[in-house]
Amino acid sequence: MTTAINPGVWLIFGGLLAAILPSRLRAAYCVALPIAVTGIVLGLEGGLAGRLSFLGVELITLRVDGLARLFAILFCLAAVLAALFAWTVQSRIEAAASLVYAGSALGAALAGDLLTLFVFWEMAAIGSVLLIWARGTPPSYHAGVRYLIVQVGSGVLLLAGAVLRFQETGSAAFDVIGLGDTAGALIFIAFGIKAAFPLLHNWLVDAYPESTPTGTVWLSAFTTKLAIYALARGFPGTEILIWIGVAMACFPIFYAVIENDLRRVLGYSTINQLGFMVAGIGVGTTLSLNGAVAHAFCDMIFKAVLFMAMGAVLLRTGTIKGSELGGLYKTMPKTAGLCIIGAASISAFPLFSGFVSKGMIMAAIVHEGLFVPWLLLLFASAGVFHHAGIKIPFFAFFAHDSGRRVEEAPWHMLAAMAIGAALCVGIGVHPAPLYALLPDAVDYVAYTTEHVVTQTQLLLFSALAFTWLYRTHRYPPELPSVNLDFDWTYRRLLPTAVAGIAGAISRLHGALRQGMRGLLAQLLHLVHRHHGPEGVMARTVSAGSMAFWVVVALAGYLIAYEVSR
């Protein structure tokens, strides 16, 4: 038995240690630890290691191949950036939880079997929920509880799938799974919850904006990317993923446009970007899989930059509502500049990272002749620019002047954002190192005339549309300071079509929710009547009735024998 240890374990135990370190050392330690672990990850040799046996199941606690290595490096990088961003965080719980969370994601990416994956999967859920609760407000508490229920539910499904699969195949190895049987379907849903599939996505937009300014940066980096890794590993080429991905890329756009909380806008935009990756995995060709993981890599970085910029805004102004912000570029010019780089990357401007990775997915879809998905994803690309590329920087830093004159973000936040932004530009200009990291050899040239022209046209027309809407006051001009009816104003002034669709969706959604709620309440009432403190199942009964049940049980057994004769 080789005793190679999954580096995720170092990060987890090291993270726990962070909770007991004196606060002077903690910040430096939290940055140094992921850097050290990155060193370990880079030094890993390929292959399977860390074999253990658990009750007859062979576990492979460490697997290093192209795909795993890429995500391992990605998670380490994210941990370093986020830890730097969170330099001044005082809470020991938050510091420890974030490192444990990152370590779990890293461990899961390097897990070679479903059981090890499950262990890290659940630990990631626990670590991340502590980050949500770290904000300490009642809404964050409730959002955290809902988040935890969903995440644990995903873990349970994964476990159930793993057990079933072990029963059927005699192996718990985590390779291509496919949708062929119940086990595959269960695992698929488990992954789907974490990847925020449509209708399973609510936890994401619900919980992410409720975390602390720094917590959201951690959250955005790991859970969903881990799910993308798991899908790429377990379900490449599963056709339904194309359509799921397309739906994910399209529907959040409507919500994102009418949303006022800018971090929630980024939450929707996360789902939108995940849609591209999921569709890429669904296509299943070498090019599209490469594109999906490359896009996961780039998305982690530019999404982190955007969430960091919004975190810095929240930290300085104390609000993140679009209607209360604006004009911040005057005093936060550096944050604004870095945010624009992130926005350009997510919009896939040529020379920025999104361009070189999303292009691969689009090219693969064209190559397979999937016309309708291609068209819808093109629409989604234009939408990204609309809600993430323009809306985020515009409403936060420009638009109408809110009169807030806050300080520039602290140095460590700027440093983290700057590193992220530099990576965005670096990858966009010189994608070869990223391509070299990808699991399969890449035969793709991002900068062809056709690609550059198409993308630039798309973006320019999208910008034109925004400008036209804004100039003709169809986009709300000076926003009213009362943010309560902000949503209402927003919807009315949007083109009627969008409002109609969004309204219909939200009404349907509302009705479904209402119905489910009513049903749940009735069920709960029924159970409480019987099992509650005064219910028949929980109250103290007399010795006589207890004896009566003894007789009933005895009779039950005798009848059971008699019947079986």
Partner: protein, 493 residues
């Protein structure tokens, strides 16, 4: 090398120590004696376990009368395993006990408490050791009678009625058991379990034998608090002194599960009997009902002791379910859960003991925010609670894994669904504990307390660390359970 008399030593020592305790008439001396005796029994049982695992079962003829005429003590893998579990909890409870008993039992009755404790310990140690069906009844009664007294020593006045109700139900259970044994004796003419095992499996078509099995199952069902025979348990656990709750919750019901395994698998031949009498399906049904009903009731309890008592009913369901699944992994799940649940419940009830000792209440509303002044206790509650839910890398996960395998082996996927549902319900009630500990600011009263005294913490932390260490290399205990289950199933062929 072990002494020839090893199997009986750990019964005789506590039995003799009990009257000495009365003579001493001093709580501290009684405690010291009980500590030494249980510690000695723990060491002896460990030696016995190692011996049995390496060299096979040990048989001891009392008074030199060879079985089946005399009473035989017979220790195989399963009984040594249960023996170690009982002894370990017995010993750790004693480390924990002194301050807690001072606080919760009237001072003039302290020595009586330790006397009864030693007797109860004797009874519970005797059940796994004995190879004689009637002798088993004797030990069952020794442990039960002393536990009625122990429960009634609680300072809450409701402890008395709770003990009385337990007495009625316990006596009914014992009577049913002895009726069952009597019926078997009528047919076979022997009381030795090995002897019975050779004859009973061929007689399962006889109605008397079937009656006997029904009486035995209902009798033991009462003792192990299987739904719907669980009604005595919540109050008995809730109002007893906490040390008693720790010890009884961790061991008494587990020993009854052991007795049920012995009867169903060794005496009646397990699968061969199930083919004639569908008792396995009945047990699966009752087990599942126990799991769900207990967990649902636990969700709404506000008193932590009562909450954990209902959780015990739910957890006993897991064991009975594994027993009824009647295949290697399912039965191994039941065996391993005997140990796991003993450890987990001991941790949680000990933590409650610490809380009551400092805060003076076990009501969820009164103890809010106790993690702040009592961080170590709270951390142990988290570990114990996660284990109860069956989170990975805890003992509970090993059980859940084996039971899921067992259910799927029999193609009962709906059983697997219920197992998962029950553990999600466990998450809900464990969650209420953890939320009370961490997510509320402490009231002034709670903020003013200190961490529990060192000996109580020592026992609590020792148990918690032990569970974590054992769970991390789950194969050790899991493989042992699988081997034991194979032996039990093999003996039925």
């Amino acid at each position: 090398m072990i002494s020839v008399h090893q199997p009986i030593l750990q019964i005789v020592l506590p039995l003799m120590a009990a009257p000495i305790c009365v003579i001493l008439r001093n709580a501290f001396a009684g405690w010291l004696l009980a500590l030494l005796v249980t510690g000695g029994a723990f060491v002896a049982s460990l030696i016995l376990l190692v011996h049995v695992v390496n060299e096979g079962p040990v048989s001891y003829a009392i008074g030199g009368w060879p079985p089946p005429w005399g009473i035989e003590y017979r220790v195989d893998g399963l009984s040594a395993f249960v023996l170690v579990t009982v002894a370990a909890i017995g010993f750790l409870s004693m480390i924990f006990a002194r301050r807690s008993v001072e606080a919760e039992v009237a001072a003039d009755r302290g020595y009586l408490f330790y006397t009864m404790y030693l007797l109860c310990f004797t009874g519970l140690m005797g059940i796994p050791v004995t190879g004689d069906a009637f002798n088993l009844f004797v030990f069952l009664e020794i442990s039960s009678l002393s536990s009625y007294v122990l429960i009634s020593l609680g300072t809450d006045r409701r402890a008395l009625t709770a003990a009385f109700r337990y007495l009625i139900m316990g006596t009914l259970g014992a009577t049913f058991y002895v009726l069952g044994i009597g019926l078997l004796y009528m047919v076979t003419g022997t009381l030795n379990i090995a002897d019975l095992a050779a004859r009973v499996p061929e007689m399962t078509h006889i109605r008397t034998v079937q009656m006997a099995l029904a009486f035995l199952t209902v009798g033991l069902g009462l003792k192990l608090a299987l739904f719907p025979l669980h009604l005595w348990l919540p109050n008995a656990y809730a109002f007893a002194p906490t040390v008693v709750t720790v010890f009884l919750a961790a061991t008494a019901t587990k020993v009854a599960v052991y007795a049920l395994i012995r009867i169903a698998y060794t005496m009646f031949g397990g699968p061969t009997m199930f083919a004639v009498m569908p008792i396995d399906e009945v047990l699966v049904g009752f087990g599942l009902l126990s799991m769900i009903v207990g967990a649902l009731a636990a969700v709404w309890q506000t008193n932590v002791k009562r909450l954990l008592a209902f959780s015990s009913i739910s957890q006993i369901g897991y064991m009975v379910l594994g027993l009824g699944l009647a295949d290697v992994t399912g039965l191994a799940g039941a065996v391993v859960h005997i140990f796991n649940h003993a450890m987990i419940k001991a941790i949680l009830f000990m933590a409650v003991g610490c809380i009551i000792f400092r805060i003076g209440s076990a009501d969820l509303r009164d103890i809010r925010g106790f993690a702040k002044p009592m961080p170590i206790t709270a951390a142990c509650v988290v570990v114990g609670g996660l284990s109860l839910v069956g989170a990975p890398l805890t003992l509970g996960f090993i059980t859940k894994w084996l039971l899921l395998q067992g259910a799927l082996d029999r193609n009962w996927w709906w059983v697997a669904v219920v197992i998962v549902a029950a553990s999600l319900l466990a998450l809900v009630y464990v969650w209420r504990l953890i939320a009370a500990a961490y997510l509320h600011p402490p009231s002034e009263r709670v903020a003013a307390v200190r961490e529990a005294p060192a000996p109580m913490l020592l026992a609590l932390v020792a148990l918690t660390v032990a569970t974590v260490v054992i769970a991390i290399d789950g194969s050790l205990i899991g493989d042992f359970a699988v081997v034991t289950a194979k032996q039990l199933l093999g003996s039925g062929e």
